[in-house]
């Protein structure tokens, strides 16, 4: 699948290599998927060696073991977007300086960075508050989504009766119900925000996991029925494992959504004080026309979002990949 891509990218790689001054051999290693193509002949020889059982696609068996884990990071996939980013920032800074746009309209990246460092003392604690809201809401959404979807799959009637309300919960714009929730929970703003973020994050987990639990292989379901498995056995040994990839997909979506939910709730609540989140800082900065500070806060929120996505992706890879390994270890 990637083969044509490699041919296209190869000249670009050489050019970039010469540009950075590391010579044509740069980057040292291609990402994994390119390997069979490049070292095809060698791999073939390695494969036909007698060890029949050890022939499973174990990671990096054909990879030259140079012990340079760093080289993973110096490949095109990582370098190219970084270069684009740097060019963009430089262009931005130059444009701001040349056109002389005032700071309160568009600050340059250097000013934003300076502001970030200067206001770290107020911004970072706010970020932590947002992290708390997001994490609590996300965990609540995960647990409740999983439990509700399990209840749903126990009876078609329960699912049919309640699923529409889950959809309604999902389609109501969070901005419009957030004030209501904040009024109801006025004594506990933190809880109010968690509830708002939970509402946004709940549905993807629910719908994905329900789909996953229902998509167990029908032959296997027949088999379980034939061997008179009870509900619990079918759930634990068949439905939950089948739902795992779907559940993980739901987690990845909901992770980002709970952050969005938290930010929206903070905006609507607009409360300051000790427990003000990062969105409140953005709000305040905009009132005061502190645009560089807004940008700095924005960077923090975005960074948090990326962090959430990356860690959930890693978790997903780990769980779905480890699945097998953990089973093997249980054997003896």
């Amino acid at each position: 699948m990637f083969d044509p891509l490699i041919h296209l990218l190869d000249p670009l790689r050489r050019w970039l290599g010469s540009l950075v001054g590391l010579g044509e051999g740069w980057p040292l290693h291609w990402p994994d998927w390119a390997l069979p193509k490049l070292t095809g002949a060698v791999e073939e020889k390695l494969r036909s060696q007698p060890t029949d059982e050890a022939d499973m696609p174990s990671a990096g068996s054909g990879r030259p073991a140079k012990g340079l884990d760093l080289s993973r990071w110096f490949n095109l996939e990582v370098i190219a977007p970084v270069i684009v980013g740097i060019l963009f920032l430089v262009g931005w800074e130059v444009a701001v300086r040349v056109t002389g746009v005032p700071h309160y309209l568009l600050p340059g990246p250097i000013l934003v960075a300076q502001t970030l460092v200067r206001d770290w003392g107020t911004l970072f604690p706010s970020l932590l508050i947002t992290v708390q809201i997001t994490v609590v809401a996300f965990l609540a959404a995960t647990v409740s989504g999983l439990l509700v979807s399990i209840v749903f799959t126990q009876s078609k009637w329960i699912e049919r009766s309640f699923f529409p309300y889950a959809v309604i919960l999902q389609t109501m714009p969070i901005v419009s119900i957030a004030p209501l929730i904040i009024i109801w929970l006025r004594n506990n703003t933190f809880a109010a925000m968690v509830v708002c973020a939970w509402i946004v994050a709940f549905f993807p987990i629910l719908s994905n996991t329900t789909l996953g639990l229902n998509s167990a292989d029908h032959n296997l379901l027949n088999l379980f029925q034939l061997y008179k498995a009870n509900r619990w056995q079918t759930l634990i040994y068949l439905r939950l494992p089948s739902a795992m990839p779907y559940f993980m997909g739901g987690l990845r979506i909901s992770g980002g959504l709970s952050l969005i939910g938290a930010v929206v709730a903070e905006f609507v609540a607009g409360t300051g004080g000790q427990r003000a989140g990062i969105a409140y800082q953005i709000l305040i900065s905009s009132f005061n026309l502190q645009v560089p500070r807004m940008f700095a806060a924005l960077i923090l929120v975005t960074g948090l979002g990326i962090l959430i996505f990356v860690s959930l992706s890693a978790l997903s890879d780990r769980v779905l990949g480890k699945w097998h390994e953990s089973a093997v270890r249980r054997e003896n």
Partner: protein, 272 residues
């Protein structure tokens, strides 16, 4: 004198969408018989197997189980095992865990279960692959795992729905002779669905031909050839004659049902 194990009495099955999958089907299978069901696609072979396995409700009629069988279920059926057309393995579990599944569901203690699993794997020739995952096996090996899973409960009745349909000819004939050897040793009662006439004749001591729309039995041909059947049997004239006969009945069944299903009474094509 062998006793009847499964008796289908006037069994009809109408699916909820109105499809008449089976109409007034009668069939008796004796203990220790290897019976093959052949017939055109959609004639209700899988439906028969599913009904026998209790995976669906009869519309009318009944299925009775032999009297002198060791029963393990409230429905009064003997120990059944089902092999599907696809291996139907759990991709997240090792070969060992896949085969152990029926025992785990029955709540058997693990040390005993493990012994049985190893024995079943030995039977299908998969010792040494206990810790492999289904994705690491070939199609034929996956089918063997599926068969091992069926055998691990030491069933009395084995239901197989085109188990080798997706395999190449070489693997298929290897698994055929392996299966036959095991059957002679264990003396299960086997109900085997296939669309391959040669396979049916080679394996069975009875071939039941079905016709479609509505699904019914049109011929019941005993294969009187002694076991063990070697590879030579596949080239003998006896074998060829049987194949020709089954093939002729099958042709009749297909034309009879495809062209004028209502011109002849349902029992006219039945040869007993």
């Amino acid at each position: 004198m062998p006793a009847p194990v499964i008796t289908l009495n006037h069994v009809s099955k109408v699916y909820s969408n109105g499809t008449v999958a089976l109409q007034d089907m009668n069939m008796t299978i004796q203990e220790g018989q290897f019976v093959s069901l052949v017939g055109p696609s959609g004639c209700g072979k899988s439906t028969v197997l599913r009904l026998v396995a209790g995976l669906g409700h009869l519309t009318t009629g009944s299925i009775e189980w032999g009297k002198n069988l060791e029963k393990d279920a409230p429905r009064g059926e003997p120990k059944l095992a089902f092999v599907f057309q696809e291996p139907a393995l759990m991709p997240w579990a090792t070969v060992m865990d896949n085969v152990r599944l029926p025992l785990k569901l029955a709540g058997e203690p693990k040390p005993k279960a493990d012994r049985d699993v190893l024995e079943a794997l030995q039977l299908v020739g998969l010792r040494g692959f206990e810790r492999s995952f289904p994705r690491e096996l070939s199609g034929g090996m996956r089918m063997r795992v599926s068969i091992a899973r069926a055998l691990v409960t030491k069933p009395q009745v084995l239901l197989m729905d085109e188990p080798f349909g997706a395999l190449d000819e070489i693997t298929r004939s290897k698994l055929n002779s392996d299966l036959l050897e095991l059957w002679q040793e264990k003396r299960w009662t086997v109900l085997f669905v296939t669309h391959n006439i040669y396979e049916a004749v080679y394996l069975s001591n009875r071939v039941v031909v079905m016709a479609a729309r509505p699904g019914r039995v049109v011929a019941d041909i005993p294969i009187d050839a002694p076991y063990p059947r070697s590879e030579d049997f596949r080239t003998s004239s006896l074998y060829n004659n049987y194949c020709r006969e089954v093939s002729a009945r099958l042709q009749e069944a297909m034309h009879g049902s495809a062209q004028d299903p209502y011109l002849r009474p349902p029992s006219a094509g039945r040869l007993r």
